[in-house]
Subunit: 164 residues, 2 copies
């Protein structure tokens, strides 16, 4: 593939060639779209709230679980390794946004909850984040959105099936 003046954005999809399998094309478009939206959200969170995306995700998971989550559960939900999240937890705890308490049934495990301040700070960020997502993806029509949700669900189930 050659660069020409008329060529649009260069991203993961730039490596597609004409004879590529349709699954590869689909995968690279999925990856590009997700990365693109993520880049915007990351940049805005950083600029407006001076927070990284993984820290925001960490707090978002906790916000839905008033009774808290273990580090293992957080790691699974954030779809990242435990090593990555323990640094985030240490930092958020130092800033008073989360608290960690031992799990009685497992002396190696910690249960993490948002503090009152963490909850207030997250609420403010979540409102902005939701507005940004609506701005970035809200132009997809309702039927297209429904169709997309359904096909993505199929993919999710298919991958789970292969993994299981």
């Amino acid at each position: 593939m050659k660069l020409t003046a008329a060529q649009p954005r260069l991203d993961h999809e730039s490596r597609i060639e004409n004879d590529d399998h349709h699954a590869i094309r689909l995968w690279l478009r999925l990856l590009t779209c997700t990365n693109l939206v993520e880049q915007h959200l990351r940049a805005r969170l950083r600029k407006q709230f001076d927070i990284t995306l993984p820290r925001f995700d960490f707090m978002a998971q906790l916000e839905r679980e008033p009774e808290g989550l273990t580090m293992g559960a957080l790691s699974q939900r954030m779809m990242v390794s435990g090593g990555n999240i323990s640094g985030i937890a240490t930092q958020l705890e130092r800033e008073g946004l989360i608290s960690r308490s031992p799990v009685p049934s497992n002396r190696r495990a910690f249960c993490v909850t948002l503090t009152r301040e963490g909850r207030a700070r997250f609420a403010e960020m979540a409102r902005a984040h939701e507005e940004w997502v609506a701005e970035l993806l809200g132009h997809v029509s309702a039927p297209d959105c429904e169709q997309l949700m359904s096909t993505l669900k199929q993919i999710k189930m298919g991958v789970d099936h292969i993994a299981g």
Copy 2:
């Protein structure tokens, strides 16, 4: 949202609540699907070829550009910051898989190409990678795939429009 025994996989979507905007639901599903496929590809590349996903992506971009790419162009296409890719380049160069040469018109820039060995190694990995992607996403029917490609393209263009 409470955990119950009947609940399926816990991931980014676990933080959805009933009153969330449809754009948020769409975004979290998009993120989950992409992360899920990426996790599988990452694990298989690591297991079968002892290579990280960013290193594979780096070589994939170069494979399509026999004349090479500057580090800036690679960074843009991989949708990551320059700092992240310079470490990858150093490592791949040390292993003889890529070579870097100065760009005459810009003394601060380098042009990167795959070596003959890099090209051979990448070809082997790319075949396996394509099979895995076909296995993970190939079950999407042709019409669903077409529809998905089209909606994702809309999203991509919408985001570019907002950013521009």
